[in-house]
């Protein structure tokens, strides 16, 4: 489908990437390589559109992923022809191409060196500094990547993508308080992003499951999932998280009735146990409705991803088992 070539292909399933890159030779043959504004042929050929170059960029990423380096190189050449080799975004793309075809760590180190040379010349080159951070992470030099990313964010504190990457880096290192802070920064930039609210809920849940700070994180996580549902009707991920957190809250609160009373210094009061019960019921009802309607193939309920539906079914089954026994 041509529409998926207009979006960054990172999250696509492998099969879709394969299909896209299989289209590459055909697309490269049929789409124009360059559109010059002052030629006779521009009278009858279609006007240049931004979609054309987005297509090239995304096609190149898909081809690199599937190993079709020749087509990727053609895309890169055409983009260079159009925008020039000094374009910041193209510098990053060229680096990406070299990363992909690098055989061993030495070649990668060379690419890294190249990035650093570019950054010495022009420290404000955002795409290349992002690539450098990504390459550091890919080389398993996580702490260096975190330092570089923090420096990057000092320079551009409104880059939501970078904050989100930082949060992900912290989560992989198990540094949950820092990750929560970074995700809250993302939400300051994009307060309506329902998936980031859910992500923050997940990280809070993970933090609560780790050894530190259970009683503060879990209610906060529940609130985040509630917010994500508030922003998006029938949000499977939000309801899944809500069910997990409320079930866990119910067990912990019934165990430690006393410790709940002692807390009064955090901003929000602890949630009422009746509200949690009702939220839990609501999440169960909604999840089973979503699963039922999706599996029966009802029209207008087919947009959910298969693994998510299976996971929701699993959660519902796990919950139902003790009752039937």
């Amino acid at each position: 489908m041509a529409s998926s070539l207009l979006h960054p292909p990172a999250h696509l399933a492998p099969s879709v990437a394969l299909r896209l890159s299989q289209q590459a030779p055909y697309l490269l043959r049929t789409t124009p390589s360059a559109i010059s504004p002052y030629s006779i042929s521009s009278l009858w050929s279609s006007a240049e559109s931004p979609e054309l170059w987005t297509t090239y960029e995304n096609l190149m990423l898909s081809c690199l992923r599937t190993g079709d380096e020749q087509s990727a190189h053609t895309c890169l050449e055409r983009l260079t022809e159009r925008f020039g080799a000094e374009n910041e975004r193209l510098m990053a793309l060229r680096g990406l191409f070299q990363e992909a075809i690098a055989k061993d760590d030495d070649a990668l180190k060379k690419v890294l060196k190249e990035y650093e040379n570019i950054l010495v010349k022009d420290p404000a080159n955002m795409p290349v500094s992002k690539r450098r951070i990504a390459l550091l992470r890919s080389l398993n030099r996580t702490s260096e990547a975190i330092t570089a990313l923090n420096k990057f964010l000092d320079a551009s504190p409104t880059d939501a993508e970078a904050w989100s990457e930082l949060a992900d880096l912290y989560v992989t290192n198990g540094m949950f308080p820092q990750a929560i802070f970074a995700l809250e920064e993302v939400l300051l930039v994009t307060p309506n992003a329902w998936n980031i609210h859910a992500r923050l809920g997940e990280v809070l849940y993970m933090a609560a499951s780790s050894e530190t700070g259970t009683d503060k994180h879990l209610p906060e996580s529940m609130r985040r999932f509630c917010r994500s549902i508030e922003l998006c009707d029938d949000y499977l991920r939000g309801y899944y998280g809500l069910k997990l957190t409320t079930s866990k809250l119910l067990t912990t609160l019934s165990q430690s009735q006393v410790s709940r009373q002692s807390k009064g210094d955090t901003g929000l009061p602890p949630p009422d146990i009746k509200d949690i019960e009702r939220l839990n019921e609501l999440a169960t009802a909604k999840l089973s409705e979503i699963v039922r309607r999706n599996t029966s193939g009802e029209a207008g309920w087919e947009g959910y991803e298969k693994p998510e539906i299976i996971a929701a079914q699993e959660l519902l089954n796990r919950d139902a088992a003790p009752i039937t026994r």
Binding site: H11, S15, V16, L96, L231, D233
Partner: protein, 150 residues
Amino acid sequence: MTWLSKSITSLGFLFLAHACYSAHEHSALHSTSTATLSSLTSHGPAASAVASLPIDISIETVVAIFTICLALVLGTPELRPIQWRVWAGKIEREGEKGFMNGDGEVEKDYVGNPFKVLESRPGFVDIRKQRKEFAEWVREGGDLATAPKS
């Protein structure tokens, strides 16, 4: 739905063209029949021709315009949700299928969840990891049939 609206629109335009043609013919006939040497300045007969336009031509014009309006309204795409949570829910629930236009193609400006880039992060893509994962997927014999469509 679209073929219905299209056919009604063309019917309406047919009526309208017919009404215009009739009006033109009527005024031409009227002016030649009442033409005198003194009224060749064309102002007088034209005004009288408009005033004496037969009622059936007027009715046909009005009916044609209403038909065209009705057909155009019928042919409009479904209104988009204007509430944030309804719109977001539609994206999550229906995916691409919820944003088809009349011809069965996904609309040009459909982007899915616009905040998904915050989780896929194209600026920080780790291409080597993706290549490795793809190679593994191929080795495991990934087939197109079981894959989700997008």
